[in-house]
């Protein structure tokens, strides 16, 4: 049973307005932010992931659920910060340099956030040095890289090499994904994980953080 069944349902059906209202109502009734995240939002996003895997949900439903989840997080984030609480693990995510396709990356970012991770989204067309700088400054547990084009895939390797050169590769796990990317390619370039789709990417991140 979800802590707030209204919030759970709103995320499941991708209703951002109701999610926002339900979150506010839950806060007003004294429910803590972490309790809402772990008790309603994470289960809702897990269910969304399950429905996607079962091909009952598709990319649009994932995005709508992520959008609903974000509208709830807008209210929770200041409360989390004010209480000095921390989300479970920090993830840095971006689409690699030369690639402007960010839909897949956005979906993964939303689902990660909905799963309770702190997500720092570097955006699209992210050069290796920006990934390196973000790792140095923000000390994430996992770096997620996305590429939709075969021509930009090699930048994933370059980025991993840049992390190595900067001496921070051992501090983070690296997960890659995107339409042309495969597990073999992840192995070939020395990534720690691969997500065939958004839902599996979240599972892989959980595994890498050992929070599964």
């Amino acid at each position: 049973m979800a802590v707030s069944s209204e919030l759970y349902e709103a995320i499941l059906t991708g209703d951002a307005r109701t999610a926002h209202a339900a979150t506010q109502a839950a806060i007003d009734s004294g429910i803590g932010p972490m309790e809402l995240i772990t008790g309603s939002m994470v289960p809702a996003m897990n269910e969304v992931g399950r429905l996607y895997e079962a091909e009952e949900y598709f990319v649009p439903e994932l995005l709508l659920a992520g959008r609903a989840m974000k509208s709830a997080m807008e209210l929770l984030r200041p409360l989390i910060a004010a209480a000095g609480l921390k989300l479970s693990n920090r993830i840095i995510i971006g689409t690699v340099k030369g690639d402007l396709h960010d839909i897949g990356k956005n979906i993964v970012a939303s689902m990660l956030e909905g799963s309770g991770f702190e997500v720092i989204d570097l955006g699209a067309d992210v050069p290796p040095e920006k990934f390196v700088a973000a790792v140095q400054e923000r000390e994430p547990h996992v770096v997620c890289m996305s590429s939709l084009l075969t021509v930009t895939m090699p930048v994933m390797r370059t980025t991993i090499q840049a992390l190595e050169s900067a001496g921070v590769r051992h501090k983070v796990k690296v997960l890659i994904g995107g339409a042309p990317v495969t597990q073999q390619y992840a192995d070939e370039i020395g990534a720690d994980g691969y997500g065939d789709n958004a839902s599996l990417a979240v599972s892989a991140v959980k595994k890498l953080c050992a929070v599964a």
Binding site: F58, V59, P60, M153, P180, Q184, E188
Partner: protein, 371 residues
């Protein structure tokens, strides 16, 4: 000039195989980026690609950025900013008027080169000058930050009065349709006999089958409506429609493209089984594709023997179902520097492998397939 459907059906009958491979040939040039902007040099690259793969279909580069450059130039957004540029809020009347100006004739260097390349091909005996545009919906999705949400909100019953996202999508779509029509007009003027309309975003990543099943008209509104108007414009210009969509599709999408747009060629991605799709496609529409060119770069993900087997399976099944078919790549085969040998070897395998029935590919078509 419009070419008779029999021409395309004849190509299928003669067993033509071809990748969408101009990008591979382009990268044999010492300075590919310079060639992209030089119409005659680009035309020679396209000619060489057609000759190499023994096809009269002179397919240009699948550069789906050009219409966006041309469109955003009308809003004074320079080319170097255009690729990454996205609108984030509904547009004012003045911007919309500029973007929808159907009489605008300014084109970026890449578009000018493409048009001149078409003119070059039109002067070469035995080759069919083919143009290329991004489809209106796919272009619209590149103009805004979060197009999927806008489509999905429409699918939930939202409208432009309630949602700025939907309002922006409709504006981008209107501007995109005008840009595509402008591009088509220029390409036809330079001699294109057929135009490939690429609509990869018209797929289940943008249109939820769950919402469509529940009665959403979003696919009709955002994809079929604009493309039917594009089709009518092509018909008026006596130019053939080749429709390409390598996205993930459901059957009703394939049927809509095949029956209602009724292209001369329908090119689909490798997620489709073409021999199953044949039942959805009229017998006078040639199916094209759909070998998994997006995996050609990797010998681990796509060993050459696997590709040869897929090619054989495709040819055998298409012959068995009797639907006209041209063996091809699911999309354009892009040059990847670190994988160029793997990619070329896959293209060679696709072109040359014999079928289980022992049929070798047809050779030396260029001299016999005068359009």
């Amino acid at each position: 000039m419009q070419v008779n459907r029999h021409f395309y059906l004849g190509l299928a009958e003669r067993g033509v195989r071809m990748p969408i491979g101009a990008d591979l040939v382009l990268h044999e040039e010492p300075d590919p980026e310079a060639v992209r902007r030089d119409g005659l040099s680009l035309g020679r690259v396209i000619e060489r690609a057609a000759r190499r793969w023994n096809t009269p279909l002179a397919l240009p580069l699948m550069d789906l950025r050009l219409e966006k450059y041309d469109l955003l130039a009308l809003a004074s957004i320079p080319e170097h900013e255009a690729e990454a540029y996205q609108f984030s809020a509904p547009l004012d009347e003045q911007t919309m008027t500029a973007l929808c100006d159907v009489s605008a004739t300014s084109y970026c260097a890449g578009s000018l080169a493409r048009n001149q390349a078409i003119a070059h091909i039109a002067s070469v005996p035995g080759l069919l000058p083919v143009g290329m545009v991004i489809g209106p919906f796919s272009l619209a999705t590149r103009l805004m930050r979060d197009p999927i949400t806008a489509v999905a909100l429409t699918g939930m019953g939202g409208d432009e009065q309630q949602s700025p996202e939907i309002q922006l999508l409709l504006q981008c779509l209107r501007a995109s349709e005008a840009a595509v029509l402008r591009s088509i007009r220029a390409q036809v003027k330079h001699g294109a006999s057929a135009i490939v309309v690429c609509e990869p975003a018209a797929c289940t990543a943008f249109f939820s089958p769950r919402q469509l099943k529940a009665g959403s008209n979003s696919f009709e509104r955002f994809v079929m409506g604009p493309n039917q108007r594009i089709r009518a414009a092509l018909e008026l210009a006596s130019c053939d429609l080749i429709f390409h969509d390598c996205g993930e599709l459901i059957d009703s999408m394939v049927a809509d493209f095949a029956e209602r747009l009724h292209p001369v060629i329908l090119s689909l991605g490798s997620s489709r089984k073409l021999w199953d799709d044949a039942r959805l496609v009229p017998a006078d529409v040639v199916l094209f594709g759909n070998l998994p060119s997006k995996s050609f770069y990797s010998d681990a993900a796509m060993p050459i023997e696997t590709l040869a087997n897929l090619t054989r399976e495709l040819i055998d099944n298409m012959q068995a179902c009797g639907h006209p078919h041209i063996v091809g790549s699911e999309c354009d085969v892009l040059f990847v520097p670190e994988a160029q040998h793997a990619i070329r070897a896959k293209v060679d395998a696709m072109m040359s492998c014999a079928t289980h029935a022992g049929n070798a590919p047809q050779q030396a078509l260029a001299g016999t397939a005068q359009p």
